[in-house]
Symmetry: C2
Subunit: 358 residues, 2 copies
Amino acid sequence: MNFSFAQLENFTIHILQKIGCSEEDARTAARVLLAADVRGVDSHGVARLSGYVRLWEADRINARPNLRIVHETPSTAVVDGDGGLGLVVAPFAMQVAIDKAKKAGTGWVSVKHSNHYGIAGIHAMEALKHDMIGISLTNASPLVSPTFSRERMLGTNPIAVAIPANKQPPFVLDMATTTAANGKLEILQRKQQEAPLGWIQDRDGNPTTSPLGVKDGGALLPLGGDREHGSHKGYGLGSVVDIFSAVLSGANYGPWVPPFVAFLEPHPHPVGEGLGHFFGAMRIDAFRPADEFKTHMDQWIGRFREALPVAGQEKVLIPGDPERELEAQRMQEGIPLLEPVIADLKALGKKFDVEWIA
Amino acid sequence: MNFSFAQLENFTIHILQKIGCSEEDARTAARVLLAADVRGVDSHGVARLSGYVRLWEADRINARPNLRIVHETPSTAVVDGDGGLGLVVAPFAMQVAIDKAKKAGTGWVSVKHSNHYGIAGIHAMEALKHDMIGISLTNASPLVSPTFSRERMLGTNPIAVAIPANKQPPFVLDMATTTAANGKLEILQRKQQEAPLGWIQDRDGNPTTSPLGVKDGGALLPLGGDREHGSHKGYGLGSVVDIFSAVLSGANYGPWVPPFVAFLEPHPHPVGEGLGHFFGAMRIDAFRPADEFKTHMDQWIGRFREALPVAGQEKVLIPGDPERELEAQRMQEGIPLLEPVIADLKALGKKFDVEWIA
């Protein structure tokens, strides 16, 4: 069943206000959360709303955070999220990066004491409005094993980079540093299909195709899948995301990152506060005139679109193409939600006396 | 046969002076070039010396470049390499990034009109001496096909990140954005062994295990190997490296990047000057006190080293471990060179009247 962006936005705003968010924060959080739904990352969208609420119920989210810069230089800052929703903390911190870039050419912000911030890409894309390149990283609950390990040490720690063009749509990379994101496994679980080898390992660290492997104590695998195919590179990238997001800011890192699900307790001996993010903004004209750059980006994108495809493929895609096309479609046709998600949201509405969509 | 670092350094310096480099530049270039040999990236070390000389003979390297900043803000710069050896241009540009970081907290430098710069990691590691995080990217001759394409559009475009610790050795990631670097294919070719599936494709874009696939008109594959295993992520990362290195600076990008080998002509209609690099330096204490950060890095590294290994593996590695261990060994026992490389260097010495190692 499909719902309009406005319907889901309205419902989300009301729920977030019920748990104590200001109207402004609720609007910001709803915009970020729903960006996942319209861009096709259904696992990170409104389906997670009740998860955030459960974290608030467990006293692990502060609905009225005092967001502030605790350390800064002309091009850097550390932001303390004060336990707020990542959906609110991240836009604040990205704005700090953009403001720094306006003056110093670039801005780099590491964030501590935050929570899950939705999809990485939406924060990076904020820079596009200012003719800047945007970068967004976050660590996350440990589900991924390093190469040669059978222990869960890292999150799916995404990397997002948004780069403006002129006539072409922007280049928007938004990728987990694992072979496959957790959301893809959930889809296989629902469909009861096998996962390709290279996505997951079982609890002993052996390759498995069971989509339940991670639930049964196994782990997601770093991009590359195994040593022979470069999993040490995916592990290295996920590690850099973890260090920039949390060791630079003073958040929890690696296996200490607090879990998103409220039924799992955070580590009893944390090494920092909450989870961490990292944002960057680079003014294009801090390097060369923006028009010149964007004309070359048009040429870059145009040339890659025209790269000779292999037999059976129509064309080569540019990072961001699939999400943008889906966004256009879903803004028009509505956002499809699965029955269990609808039931979950209805129950949430009933609990907080917020009318579900008429 | 093994040679000492000092022997190979001395020979390299003399050869580079013979083609017109200043003594200072020759020393810088030799240090960077030999870092590859001691760290085990044999394909990027002294074995390439005659390749650089052939580029100079083809008038595609300027031995006396006028390196200069052509655009800057407090935290950024564009450096014009003036056609110089990348081995000399890169250390100059990285120093600009470090100097910017001293004042503004971070420094970001995009470089145009350069050439091959050796291994990415050695430039990032320069930041470690200053309690900074170092980043080093470069584009390179097109050998890699985007996902769904059979055309060579990108180089192996490496990403290097160096992060200081206290008692632990530094974290040094230095990775090609392909499943396997070109040097690994060369080894398989010499040994006449098959490559694993997922490393290369043939000229039609079909997976192949022939190590000659790339020579026969095929391509290296982005990290991930195929769409199902996330090759669009490797393609996306390689693209970001290309754009930061070349579209930001005004160098050639994508299929326009000039080839390293002198027997292939550069593109007749270049879109920029030479090839491009990108460097970053972030002062640790622009985020939090350096001691505090490095203590947490010790804890991060220590915890990951102790992650439970899978059966048959002794331990989990930290990025930079294998290269550092090899460096310690080769500085003591010498650097092994293959017979064809020795013959090539001897011929070079004879040509320029430089005595080969006694």
